[in-house]
């Protein structure tokens, strides 16, 4: 089949189109993708030398990041966090949720932060300090395991023999 192997010139569509127009490629030899490409051309034409327009990548920040930073400064990282597990919120997320709830009652940010810390400490749902041990916040491996075990125990046990007998 006649075709150019210079992939940097034009794109597959423009090269095949040229071959079809000049008669170097017979209409019956037209590749099957040709009509599909014509009907649904890509949004951006493929071109080896194409350069994207100058775009500055913006940093992603949220207003609550300040509270997050304060939380981690005070309490440190709580250890392992499973990003794939959406079942348990992280201690920081719990803290933030409580922070948002109590936001209306306080005008000063620092007072609010301390108040939330106090409430959370009473509930024992934040680590005591940077070097604190595991707490029953539901995020430690041990608590996740025990909750899974208790869940499986509460489910009724199925006896295969009962299922097979006709009643």
């Amino acid at each position: 089949m006649a075709s150019s192997r210079l992939e940097r010139i034009g794109n597959i569509y423009s090269r095949v189109r040229g071959l079809l127009r000049s008669g170097a490629m017979k209409p019956e030899d037209k590749p099957i993708w040709y009509d599909v490409y014509e009907a649904f051309p890509p949004k951006v034409e493929p071109q080896y030398g194409r350069t994207a327009s100058e775009i500055t990548i913006r940093p992603i920040f949220y207003p609550e990041d300040i509270v997050r930073a304060k939380f981690y400064e005070r309490f440190g990282s709580p250890g392992l966090i499973s990003l794939a597990n959406n079942e348990y919120p992280t201690p920081c997320q719990k803290f933030l949720d409580r922070y948002k709830e109590m936001e209306k009652d306080f005008s000063d940010e620092n007072e609010l932060f301390e108040a939330v810390v106090k409430v959370m400490e009473e509930e024992k749902s934040v680590p005591e300090s940077v070097s604190s041990n595991q707490t029953d916040s539901g995020t430690s491996m041990a608590s996740m395991f025990s909750s899974a075990v208790s869940k499986s125990q509460t489910q009724p046990k199925i006896n295969v023999g009962d299922l097979l007998t006709e009643k």
């Binding site: 192997r5 993708w33 599909v36 649904f40 194409r50 994207a52 775009i55």
Partner: protein, 258 residues
């Protein structure tokens, strides 16, 4: 003759009627698209039926847009890019932003481009084209090969031998039919260089669909899909989607082709 075509049309393209009222001049038919009857359909001229049954006239003939939602992409971790410093400048339009040094993809843009890619795949499968899944990462070999097997297509998920496309007659000792579409689950090889298949497919005028991560170059890919190409969950999602698109395209094939 008309009756048989009409019957076929009835259970095959009822959905399409609702989308493309402009094609059909009969306004009554368009309004009652879901409750068509045989005698009403028989009134359409044969040429009109031919026009209607041409899948290329429909924006989404195979219904590939319903295959996924943006939330599915998010759950499969498609939005995670590489670190700031590895960004390929050509990927800038598809980046949402940088979260503490890690690039995040704009999933709205990814979803649109993925829909285009799936639509193209379904059309190629419908037309009886050969589709080749390509990946070079050992950890994804099984996923990719299984997807190709389930779709009844081909996979090359091992080390890429040079000249497979460009000198196929010598490599395979005979005239070789090259694939009509190459789907690259990652456009890089494990050495972080561009996969040879990208260049060779462009040389041989084979269209490519490629998952391009933030450190890949999308220029030579015909239908680039910006997204994470490293996470097993993401690769599994792409494989499932392309497999389903191929099966959708093939499922329409024996009904409409005359």
């Amino acid at each position: 003759m008309i009756r048989t075509i009409a019957n076929r049309l009835k259970w095959n393209t009822v959905r399409c009627f609702t989308q493309t009222c402009s094609i059909n001049s009969d306004a009554f038919l368009c309004q009652n698209a879901t409750s068509l009857k045989d005698d009403q359909l028989a009134d359409i001229k044969e040429s009109e039926i031919k026009e209607i049954s041409d899948p290329l006239r429909f924006p989404d003939y195979f219904g590939v847009r319903k295959l996924f939602r943006v939330k599915d992409l998010f759950d499969a971790r498609v939005h995670y890019g590489h670190k700031d410093g590895t960004l390929d400048p050509n990927m800038k339009p598809y980046i949402f932003g940088s979260r503490l040094g890690h690039l995040i993809f704009d999933l709205d843009k990814t979803a649109k481009m993925l829909q285009d890619a799936l639509n193209f795949t379904a059309h190629i499968a419908y037309r009886g084209g050969i589709i080749l899944f390509v990946s070079h990462f050992p950890q994804h070999t099984l996923t990719v090969e299984n997807a190709a097997k389930q779709a009844g297509e081909y996979a090359h998920a091992r080390e890429w031998d040079f000249h497979i496309f460009t000198n196929s007659e010598k490599v395979y000792n005979g005239v070789t039919r090259l694939p009509d579409l190459v789907i690259l689950l990652s456009t890089l090889n494990p050495q972080m260089q561009e996969h040879t298949a990208v260049k060779d497919a462009a040389k041989m005028c084979i269209p490519t669909i490629g998952i391009v991560d933030s450190n890949s170059n999308p220029n030579l890919i015909t239908y680039p899909v910006p997204g994470n190409d490293d996470s097993p969950a993401a690769v599994q999602l792409y494989c499932n989607l392309f497999r389903d698109a191929i099966l959708l395209g093939k499922s329409k094939k024996p009904v409409v082709s005359t």
